[in-house]
Symmetry: D2
Subunit: 293 residues, 4 copies
């Protein structure tokens, strides 16, 4: 299929490569062209402008946040350049509100729109093992399916409303942040009784919490290996804000998400912006008088 790809970051480069290996014709655009060039040896064509990438059957955006996505879609000829049967496939973690606006705008223009954010870090992206949460009209999702299959191990089509997929994704990240917060408080409590975090994490992950999330984040937290970040604390804060914004739209309270947001803000104040988002776990320990080693 003819695929446009906009946003070649740490995730995007892996996803684009898998599209090419699956035989899709990929036209890449990136604001800083160097990153797009990385895919040329794999067979990608580098677009000279946003519109060229948008003119493909499916155009994927994989940009860092709402503002970048809005700039690409609304402040260019993106929509006008899309073919009549084209679908915009937004795979970034954007807000429910922006997803709804994108869906409306594309519908008014007679174009398709699918939200398909993903679970997985760069290694999973490289191995085409992402979990993909898709939201959109069945026909549009079906059109995208071969493209999604090239990048992920499984697609969950959760709703005809694109925003619902974004909410599921945001919810997953909220639940990961809850694990991190609980690990931070767990380390604070057990350290005060003489148990080292490495010992605690070894016990927990070999007994009742044998899950990747506990192993990955427990290991980072116990060893304080917050650099280089797999996902920065600032991005973690962004996603918990998205969860609270999505809840606020429906006027519902998420007290645990509020607590996590507040602790992320405290972590920012302490200078942890560019550490891994699991550095949230330092806040509870420091507040207990237990500093970094």
């Amino acid at each position: 299929m003819k695929v446009g790809f906009i946003g070649v970051g740490a995730m995007g480069v892996c996803m684009g490569r898998n599209l090419l290996q699956a035989g899709h014709a990929v036209t890449v655009f990136n604001r800083s062209p160097g990153r797009a060039a990385a895919l040329v040896s794999d067979g990608a064509v580098v677009a000279s402008c946003i519109e060229e990438a948008a003119a493909q059957t499916v155009v994927i955006t994989m940009l860092a946040h709402d503002a970048a996505t809005e700039a690409v879609v609304f402040d260019s000829g993106f929509i006008a350049a899309m073919p009549a049967d084209g679908v915009h496939l937004c795979m970034a973690t954007i807000s429910a509100e922006l997803a709804r606006r994108l869906a409306q705008t594309h519908a008014q223009a007679g174009r398709g729109y699918v939200s398909a954010p993903v679970f997985g870090r760069p290694p999973a992206a490289a191995a085409a093992q992402l979990f993909i949460i898709a939201g959109g009209e069945p026909a549009a999702v079906a059109l995208c399916q071969p493209v999604l299959d090239a990048m992920g191990q499984r697609t969950y089509h959760v709703s005809n409303a694109p925003a619902a997929a974004n909410v599921v994704k945001i919810t997953g990240n909220f639940m990961l942040a809850a694990i991190i917060e609980s690990l931070g408080e767990a380390c604070a409590l057990t350290r005060s009784y003489g148990i080292a975090p490495t010992q605690l994490v070894e016990i927990l992950t070999s007994s009742i919490f044998p899950a990747p999330a506990y192993k990955i984040y427990g290991g980072i937290i116990a060893n304080e290996t917050f650099e280089p970040p797999g996902f920065t604390l600032r991005l973690g804060l962004k996603d918990i804000r998205l969860a609270l914004a999505a809840a606020d739209e429906k006027e519902i309270a998420l007290p645990l998400a509020s607590l996590i947001r507040d602790n992320y803000l405290k972590a920012l104040t302490r200078g942890y912006e560019n550490l891994d988002w699991s550095a949230l776990a330092l806040v509870a320990q420091e507040d207990a008088g237990l500093p970094r080693r």
Copy 2:
């Protein structure tokens, strides 16, 4: 080994049976004698009083809470009846404070004391697959090891201080409660965007949360099968209070534990005392205007 066993509840009956099958000589005492009788056909001797059970080489207590444990140990001839080389092996989830008091009292009397609370529900106890967190002097733990091996799949000897083992156990339950709270808020948020809890849980547990805790509690919460309880909400509240009490002794704050405690109290008010402790997840959903089905 000659083993006394006091407290034959849902867990204790499985643990006692495994001791007998491993060849230990078990003398059982239970306040209501019917439950003790259940182990007779497996070879147990029923004691007529607490002291008779306490007079064995290792005497296990597996009672529901601090008050029951205190009554058995301090309001009887328990300590006086223990042999000179005897060890009291307390496997219940008791407070750090009581563990410390038990350790002191036994030390003054020249007797051994080991805290060895367990992770695992009755099916794990029946299969001798418990995870055991042990705290105590190495010699005392070593003496108990054959007994522990008959009941669990692995023993973690975390500290020479018995109370530290209780804190690790309490911490594990706090982290499970954090999962439950996060699932409750996750269901509230995604339900408000049209995603059914069963759908959400299926997605999460087949992608980023493939862990038993998410499958078990996610399933109960999504299907609202809170009865019969595997572990009652009142016991869940007891354990989160123990976590806060252990933290308060060291004068450290656990804000997530405070939030969970408050939500457990709200759940009590709504009449959920005897539901499974995962009924905590109803609070967030009801507060969002999303009632039980």
Copy 3:
């Protein structure tokens, strides 16, 4: 002075009347013209359009929220209609972010802008007893001073940055909401020990809390006279959201404000949107199993 007045609500009608009584020439605009007419007998001129009101030396906006203020200022000829030495005096409780945008926009157009939100309910507005928190360039504030003096008992010029005045106002409302939350929890606790809320409030306000806020809100809460609202719960939620938004801009956490926001959202779910904002106090009592009488 020639004064334009846009937004004749419960507060605005009192403020406009005081301007007229102080001898100012007032040109009034209101979306629903009936309310503007109420000031005609006092000497006001009714403008046929926004621009006519904006063409005065000082144009006051007193609208319900950010969206209404933005619509009036940005979606009309408001700014173009202002005289060269004109000042826009925004007395509504708007966000810090909008205040900053208004200040920038007016500065670029060579016009003046002052934020001057007020403390006080309609009776205080009627008696010209408002407390006014002003932010803006000294010359612009000085120009507005005779106008402000006609409406309030005292003006505090807190900063050359208009947004700072809005933040002080929002902070005051946050602190009032904190009183309300504390009264709700206080009633929950003491009711559970047999003390009636009326009794509690009588004790507190005649001893350590002899302040208007405790008397007013304590009385409403104890007697459950939430209707008619002096200030609706939805507006209370709006203001606590403004406090959190102002804090979020500076990336600081306000945990008590987060708690209050979440409880306001729960109150909405329970149908209290149009009650007085002190109905927040019902949440803690209901969560404690103590319903309305």
Copy 4:
């Protein structure tokens, strides 16, 4: 009347002096005898033992916490020494649970018991201007009334159950702590917009919060004059723990009290134990990256 007085601290010395000036015969006991001696020149008799003080018609205890009160009443001949018509008048801030135990113990011994904790700092005690919250059987309270009148400006007899008076007192202190927390967050928010805490407090206390609590604590917080403490942070923590314990007994949640407790614990970790309890306000400011001056 013949009055015993046990516990001559900063408050007790003022209260004892007022009893003597009102003509009561006061027999004083204090663990460290020097403090008792301070009342001799005013006419007090110094008791050589607890029992001598307890042998008066009314015996007042004014001790720092539950443990001190329990030691005096239960670990001595206190109750046996009381006359047949004697009343124990406990004016300290003790727990609801201890008040209930004291009431039961005295009832079994045929003696009277009244809880009568007070609102007011040492200057109010010196001026006999305390507010007294009394709980107990009407006859017992009536017997104590002349004694109470010598120390306070008003007595509120809130309940026949002594514990209810302690709960009202604890509730008052919780509400003061809520003011302090709200002032701390208010300073954090407004400082981040360039408003000095002294300026904020001046505005608030001269407009919508003209109450002593705001003036006193606002002044201390704005000027950071936390030493010498009027009431130490450790005592503030004690009282918020009492509020949570009283609520926990009735199984109700007080989320704001939980938040304050957690922030007091963080303040302890930061070394503020012996500062005025309003140093709680430093936590929010420091968490916002705004340190002490």
